[in-house]
């Protein structure tokens, strides 16, 4: 296990204390691509920020995140800083704003090397060009000197990826890296991530709301709803949990031609509206009375297939 | 020759001793006189012209008095002593004035003064030199200037003028100085060095000045500081050695850091009422206002009780000419004021605008006090502060006002102080017309006999005191603050700072 999260809870203390994520537990094996899927507001991005310890000041958390034998939640700022970029790195959603507009892209990649390695200036530049090549960027010398606004969305995301893999980290977290890109660049970036994952043995935590995308890319997928993991499966098609099934039905595919598109009734409950019992109960087509009272356990059905539902 | 000396003696007798009471505090005699030294004097206004024949502003003459000298020169006692001229004679018919050049007198550029220079200077003020617009009164009355010999010059007048003598203080300049404005060269005790407008005017000791033993100070800087507050602070820091015309309010602050010299000033503060504007054309109204006003309260509030209330347009400083009986004609008396108002038909008072010049805080504050005092008799004075440029044009030249507060500065010649009230005079902004007054003033110019002139001056002052074209408030005290170690300050009855008599002690 590269990283293991045990009963992670994240709270927001604005006027009253609201729970965004409640006792989340999952792990990512070495070299594995783990998908974390869910509608927006289910707490998936919060989890990634918790791992990187980049949550806002008004958020508090509890539980454990074991990584390389240490619990990240107890590390000091200095220790955490030395880990970031070297052992864990992150790829963000918005390539447009993720880079500092005033610095040249080559230098921004070099900065990670500067912090964590003792390479000389010249060596750093060579390594940067090497990394840029690995992420399939063209005319490297020229792009090295360019500013972020002079590159396309796809190129910028490749720069971010180059930054992420610069120090061969154990774990890379990709928080919806392709959402802001057009479809063709999206597939290129996904292939790049796949290729990098095979070549190097880092593990990748891929966060998205796009089931199709996650289906092709990830070895294992965890589906989240309202702060809980409701199902962990290898292949989407053998999904058991009603919520996953509803999500799959909602994907338009040629087979259901002529039928109107299915959409899940109701809407995702806000943090303050969450009650006990199964979080999906209010919208679940198979919901029974008991579902509203007790929160089902996340039980293992078949090797590795976990489901949080009383009736499956 | 005998007549000449007689005349001089009489002159000395009559205008003797004014403003010499030097009440300088904490004077100790241990200190010894120091030769040389650098003096910094604070003045508040810039020069209008450095060319003596063009300059008219009082502030310029105050400074350049140390650079330029005329045939005659005023002294601190208000007398006229020979300067460029050694002596002079007046012909029996009072038409020809013959001046004898002082031998060995030099210009600042080292050239000896010659008779041709005197002729050049006196013709120059006739206004016929290139592009100059200033024609002096003296020039109008000169018929002819004749060179008698290398030492003497005679000046013939068109008509007799008993008051012309003081005009011979006009500056004598060298005929071959190309641009007098750029290099103001004269014969005075100090030589001009440089002038930075708005900053300073610097002059230094003229070694071969004709009067021996004077001046002692080596270098003088007239520092132009407009803002009173910062100049007081510079004085306290010792960055100013001589501060003329100090406001009385600062005496207590400066008492221990500087010498304070209190003298009487040849200055008359008046509440001028436009005689052509209703109701001020009625003498009873002016008298009522005079009775309602309490000048002593103004003196105590604004001049620390040092000023002197006056009844006519003459300061006690002009000793021999001052008419003592004019004091106390209109002392503060509310009932009389109300009675007069009733007689004039203004039972329950009236309203008028009192315009006050903004750059003279002293007069503006006086206006505030007067408006309070007049309230007691039902007269409402609306205060309007008027900017100096506007005051000069609208009120002084344009005479478009009802009431204003200003001070009129005195001159060496009493005639120049009183001629303002002549009906035809260009600056009679009070619009005062009195046949009787005009005839008296006319007679004065006809005679050169001092006794008759004194009687006539006193008569003129009495007419003014009775007619009260303006309400005479006070002759403000002249307060000068100096560096603790500065001695020899001689106050003048005119707007002048004589640096030549000053010296440092250590």
């Amino acid at each position: 296990m590269t990283i293991e999260i045990k009963n992670l809870n994240i709270y927001f203390n604005e006027k009253t204390k609201l729970q965004a994520v409640n006792n989340l537990s999952f792990g990512v094996k070495k070299g594995e691509i783990m998908g974390l899927v869910g509608e927006s507001g289910c707490g998936k991005s919060l989890t990634s920020l918790a791992i990187m310890r980049l949550l806002r000041k008004n958020a508090s958390f509890s539980g454990e995140i074991n990584f390389l034998g240490k619990n990240l939640l107890n590390l000091s700022a200095k220790e955490m800083a030395s880990l970031r970029g070297r052992e864990i790195s992150m790829i963000f959603q918005e390539p447009l704003t993720a880079l500092n507009p005033l610095h040249r892209v080559g230098k921004q990649i070099g900065e990670t090397l500067k912090i964590h390695t003792s390479l000389s200036k010249k060596e750093r530049k060579e390594k940067t060009l090497e990394l840029m090549n690995e992420v399939n960027l063209k005319d490297l010398e020229d792009t090295y000197k360019k500013f972020p606004h002079e590159l396309s969305g796809g190129q910028r995301q490749r720069i971010v990826i180059a930054m992420a893999i610069a120090c061969e980290p154990q774990l890379i977290i990709a928080d919806e890296p392709t959402t802001a890109l057009d479809v063709s660049t999206q597939t290129q970036i996904i292939d790049l991530l796949k290729k990098l994952n095979n070549k190097k043995d880092h593990s990748l935590l891929f966060i998205s709301h796009d089931l199709d995308l996650v289906g092709d890319l990830c070895h294992r997928i965890a589906i989240m709803y309202a702060g809980h993991i409701v199902e962990v499966i290898d292949k989407l098609k053998d999904a058991k949990h009603p919520y996953t099934k509803c999500l799959l039905d909602a994907i338009p595919n040629p087979l259901h031609k002529g039928k109107d598109l299915y959409s899940i009734p109701g809407r995702v409950p806000t943090l303050s509206e969450r009650k006990n019992g199964c979080p999906f109960a209010p919208r679940c087509p198979m919901a029974k009375d008991k579902c509203h009272e007790i929160l089902p356990e996340l039980l293992e059905k078949k090797n590795g297939h976990l489901v949080r539902c009383l009736y499956v | 020759m005998k007549k000449l000396i007689g005349l001089l003696a009489v002159l000395m007798l009559m205008v003797s001793g004014c403003g010499k009471e030097e009440k300088s505090s904490n004077e100790n005699t241990l200190k010894t006189k120091v030769d040389g030294g650098e003096l910094i004097v604070r003045i508040s206004q810039d020069m209008d012209f450095l060319d003596p024949h063009k300059a008219l502003a009082a502030g310029t003459y105050e400074v350049m008095f140390n650079v330029f000298e005329g045939l005659l020169k005023p002294t601190h006692e208000g007398k006229l002593i020979p300067a460029v001229a050694e002596s002079f004679e007046i012909s029996k018919d009072n038409l020809v004035y013959t001046f004898k050049l002082r031998d060995g007198i030099k210009f600042h550029n080292g050239k000896n003064v010659e008779v041709e220079d005197i002729i050049f200077s006196l013709t120059r003020i006739g206004g016929d030199f290139s592009g100059n617009s200033v024609v002096r009164d003296l020039a109008k009355n000169i018929k002819e200037i004749r060179k008698i010999d290398n030492k003497t010059v005679a000046i013939e007048l068109n008509k007799v003028d008993g008051t012309i003598l003081s005009k011979f203080t006009t500056a004598i300049i060298s005929r071959d100085v190309v641009d007098i404005e750029k290099s103001p060269i004269g014969t005075g005790p100090f030589k001009f060095i440089e002038y930075l407008p708005g900053q300073k005017l610097v002059m230094e000791k003229f070694k071969d000045y004709w009067m021996t033993g004077v001046p002692t100070i080596d270098k003088v800087e007239f520092s132009i500081i407009k803002d009173e507050q910062s100049s007081i602070l510079s004085l306290q820091r010792g960055e100013i050695d001589l501060y003329p015309r100090l406001g009385s309010t600062h005496i207590s602050t400066l008492e221990n850091t500087n010498n304070i010299i209190v003298t009487k000033q040849n200055l008359m503060q008046i509440l001028s009422l436009n005689n052509k504007v209703k109701p001020f054309d009625d003498i009873r109204i002016r008298q009522a206002i005079a009775y309602a006003m309490n000048s002593q309260e103004i003196i105590d509030t604004l001049d620390a009780g040092l000023g002197k209330s006056i009844g006519t347009n003459m300061s006690p400083v002009m000793k021999n000419y001052y008419n003592i009986e004019t004091e106390g004609i209109y002392t503060h008396n509310i009932e009389k004021a109300k009675k007069l108002l009733k007689e004039a038909g203004y039972e329950n008072g009236f309203e008028f605008t009192l315009s006050l010049p903004t750059n003279y805080r002293f007069h503006a504050d006086t206006g505030v006090i007067i408006s309070e005092q007049l309230k007691k008799v039902g007269i409402k004075a609306n205060l309007v502060e008027v900017e100096w440029g506007t005051w000069l044009k609208e009120i002084y030249a344009g005479r478009k006002y009802e009431g204003t507060v200003i001070a009129l500065d005195g001159k060496i010649e009493p005639y120049d102080i009183l001629n303002r009230y002549i009906s035809s005079h260009r600056r009679n902004f009070m619009n005062y017309e009195s046949k009787e007054y005009d005839t008296v003033m006319k007679e004065i110019t006809q005679t050169t006999d001092e006794k008759i002139k004194i009687e006539l001056y006193k008569k003129a002052q009495m007419i003014l005191a009775k007619d009260i074209p303006v309400v005479f408030i006070m002759a403000p005290a002249g307060i000068i603050a100096t560096n603790k170690d500065l001695r020899g300050y001689t106050p003048y009855p005119i707007y002048v700072q004589d640096i030549s008599t000053l010296y440092f002690v250590k």
């Binding site: - | 009173e228 006050l356 309070e372």
Partner: protein, 268 residues
């Protein structure tokens, strides 16, 4: 409601302002002493019982002059902000909404007006139209027009592109109605913030103008005038200059803090 630290602006600023408004309110009915009556004997006396804050160089009670002066200060503030905001918002609205030539023209005029430092503009205005409280208010009002115009214009440019305006136009709303009814309410909050700021600037400007001798006329008291008159007696009567100085600083501080609170509130 738990007042968090960020609301300190409201508490302190509001507190001071209420205190000052109280003083102004009271001054309309009761003044400890007459504001203009002179008594020379009491000249420049330090703070003592009948005269709580001492007397000025005419022997007048400083406290009552301060209270009367607060009326002038708020009057100057309100009227000059009124002039500035009405004219400024009107100009800003037109140039922001219609754009093109009118925008260019109005903006150039505001540029030119902004090129003159405020005091200089007021100096010129008052030298032409004469001193006095009315002219001071108008001068300070004109001085604040460019800032209001700028803020309104940027607000209008931002709102103009939004859909709800297009929708209103589709419904056939007239330009005037769109400006007045739709856009203005949404642009109001930065204008209110600017109004508090220019209110405090007006008080500072009045003080500066009085220092140059151009402000409010004697004998009616204004803080700025008292400040410039009292500076001469700083050494012998420091309380005379401290009183108006502190009043001006307190008022301006209170207004600025309220402005900051409103700005914070507007972003929330």
């Amino acid at each position: 409601m738990n007042i968090k630290v960020k609301d300190h602006n409201l508490i302190i600023g509001g507190g001071i302002l209420i205190f000052l408004l109280l003083i102004t309110g009271v001054s309309f009915f009761y003044l400890p002493h007459s504001v203009t009556e002179i008594n020379t004997k009491l000249k420049l006396s330090p703070p003592n019982f009948p005269y709580l804050l001492g007397t000025d160089n005419f022997g007048r009670d400083i406290l009552s002059r301060l209270m009367k002066g607060s009326q002038t200060a708020f009057l100057v503030g309100i009227i000059s902000v009124g002039i500035g905001s009405v004219a400024g918002v009107f100009l800003g609205a037109i140039s922001g909404y219609f754009g093109g030539k009118t925008d260019e023209f109005i903006m150039r005029i505001t540029d030119a007006m902004m090129a003159f430092p405020g005091i200089l503009f007021a100096l010129m205005f008052i030298s032409v139209f004469g001193v006095g409280i009315q002219n001071t208010m108008v001068a300070i009002g004109i001085m604040s027009i460019p800032t209001f115009a700028r803020i309104t214009r940027s607000g209008f440019l931002r709102e103009k592109e939004l859909e709800y305006i297009k929708a209103a136009r589709v419904r056939g709303a007239s330009n005037f109605r769109i400006i007045y009814h739709h856009i203005l309410p949404n642009v109001l909050s930065p204008i209110i913030v600017a109004a508090t700021m220019s209110f405090s600037n007006a008080i500072l400007a009045e003080a500066a103008l009085s220092y140059l001798g151009l402000g409010v006329q004697a004998p009616n008291p204004s803080w700025g005038r008292m400040l410039s008159e009292s500076q001469m007696y700083f050494m012998i009567a420091p309380w005379y200059t401290l009183a108006p100085g502190i009043m001006i600083s307190l008022t301006v501080l209170a207004l600025n803090m309220l402005g900051d609170f409103l700005r914070g509130y507007q972003e929330r």
